[in-house]
Symmetry: C2
């Protein structure tokens, strides 16, 4: 088996140089780095980090616990987080949960079992209590959500999220500015103490600000963020109920895509017969017909903030911070102005 000494000899460098390259230290010239990595590759050398881990007092593993991994917004976010965590010399371990599972319980169990040094929760509930949080004995960050419906003190948790209520308000305002007043909403759930409830509140707030009466008949609940069939069905019943709406605010891009399909299958063209606006800003929805008009979440920035917050927190466990990002409208072809 090839040893680190063989690699060093082959490259004509010190063993410590090989080690620095393997541990991503910056103080190695680009040329040496490439030469070492090339030798590592050709000799099939496997660094013995296992031994290194035994010497260390703890692991270097941060877990990312994801609820709803089929959410394409998360796919990109996970990529950014993974890249940054790895770049900073930690190991990221991904675990998936069903939306019905209790992320805190699973987090607590994994932290014990796998000697985690930190946990990133992706896509959790907005309503933790201090008693629940007491289960988690390692630094943790709530990614894409805050504790709006919970009882945690702001000084006791860290979060990275967008302002969901504001994003929903912006979406509705965009439609109102174009003359729409009969605006339907496509949401997962009206009162799940979670992301859908917040966006639903933002929708209602925006209507109120424009003196548009809230009409429960214009609310379509999908019960899901990603099951296209269920979203299609919910939109179809919304259409069949009548309600005379001229626009739909879908709380996520995927919902908007299924909604546009349902509208089309019911003979309603987007945007001629119905405008559609969403929140997410997936790459994908720039390539749908029509291009989706959507409020873009700054995925890169959110991902970096998640990674850096947990790393900071591991170093300084009491330095809690809540980051809030803004969404930006990406103009598309799915909305149009109307005269009433």
């Amino acid at each position: 088996m090839t040893s680190i000494k063989d690699i060093a000899l082959h490259c004509g460098v010190a063993i410590s140089t090989v080690s620095r390259v393997l541990n991503n230290h910056p103080d190695v010239s680009q040329e040496t780095r490439e030469r070492v990595l090339h030798a590592v590759e050709s000799f099939n050398y496997i660094p013995n980090t296992s031994a290194r881990n035994l010497v260390r007092s703890s692991s270097d593993t941060i877990a990312l616990l994801v609820k709803g991994v089929s959410n394409p917004f998360f796919s990109k976010l996970i990529k950014v987080i993974d890249r940054e965590i790895t770049l900073c010399g930690y190991t990221l371990e991904l675990h998936q949960m069903d939306t019905s599972e209790n992320e805190l319980r699973i987090g607590a169990q994994l932290a014990n079992e796998r000697k985690l040094i930190g946990i990133l929760f992706l896509g959790g509930r907005f309503n933790y209590s201090p008693e629940e949080m007491a289960m988690i004995h390692v630094p943790s960050v709530f990614c894409t959500y805050t504790n709006t419906f919970g009882t945690l003190d702001a000084g006791t948790y860290s979060s990275v999220a967008i302002d969901d209520k504001q994003a929903a308000r912006d979406a509705v305002n965009t439609l109102v500015a174009l003359g729409h007043r009969r605006i339907a909403i496509l949401t997962d759930n009206e009162n799940d103490n979670s992301i859908s409830e917040l966006r639903f509140q933002g929708y209602k707030d925006a209507l109120r600000e424009h003196d548009i009466p809230f009409d429960p008949n214009l609310v379509a609940c999908t019960g899901t963020f990603s099951d296209m069939k269920a979203i299609y069905k919910a939109t179809s019943s919304l259409i069949q109920r009548g309600g005379n709406f001229t626009a739909i605010f879908a709380i996520a891009d995927l919902m908007a895509i299924a909604a546009i399909k349902a509208l089309s299958d019911h003979g309603k063209r987007v945007p001629q017969d119905c405008s559609v606006v969403a929140i997410d800003g997936l790459d994908l929805s720039e390539y749908t017909l029509p291009t989706l008009t959507t409020l873009v979440q700054p995925t890169e920035e959110i991902g970096l903030a998640c990674a850096r917050t947990i790393i900071e927190l591991i170093k300084h466990p009491d330095k809690h911070r809540q980051y809030t990002f803004e969404t930006v409208l990406r103009p598309g072809g799915s909305i149009r102005a109307i005269q009433e």
Copy 2:
């Protein structure tokens, strides 16, 4: 802190019964199982599997090493694999790699570091050598690929995949049956010793079988499976080159979606001006405009086969098997018959 004894006392059952419930043993009545799980939930009890792991000689962790996690076909597959592995009492740990990384090297390193009992490689190369495979000292399964371009003996590896060449042939045959002869291909790469090369070969085979001359001018390489912008660009140059094609075979659904957008932006409607067929069968592409005609990979069956093959292999390390699944055409609205 709540102990397993507290749970047993509360439920009026033996400690061993609680343990059986927690370890998913089948010999517990549904009623008892629910009562125990309810108590576990209300007491915030965290099973001490950490201690259990110390007693065991090895971990129960199977790693899933994914190349290209933003591939939406993989998202669903990962879900199925994760569910089955967990159901069978093992822990699945997900690790992402860039497409440029060497999955075998990373697998070997992780197997050492994390005391893995098995590895599922998802989305790897088709050209391993016995020397490379010698790095991997734990049971492993190649998921979604085989060793077509490699030098491994069939008795020395396990794989679960579709017949990529045949799927591509089926896609092209579908178009030929409708009268198309000027058929372009949208592929990642012509000769990457991987999935794209196999599907490209299937495309060329089908043309040959129908005495249609291969025209390099009708080949558009995207260099990616998931970067929509790059796929859109590759399709745009294909359109600008002329070539007078009446149909496009895209080797993946996402490619087809970006291609349809590019065609539309160049004034070409699908299917009126150009037919489009793909391979994957994503849920998503049933909800695009038009509905994508695509060869469906049986995701559920593939995922179950991946999970069960690695579990079998962990028990019987020499029982290698290669599973091949068939794709099935899902009719859509993106192809039409033409007269020549």
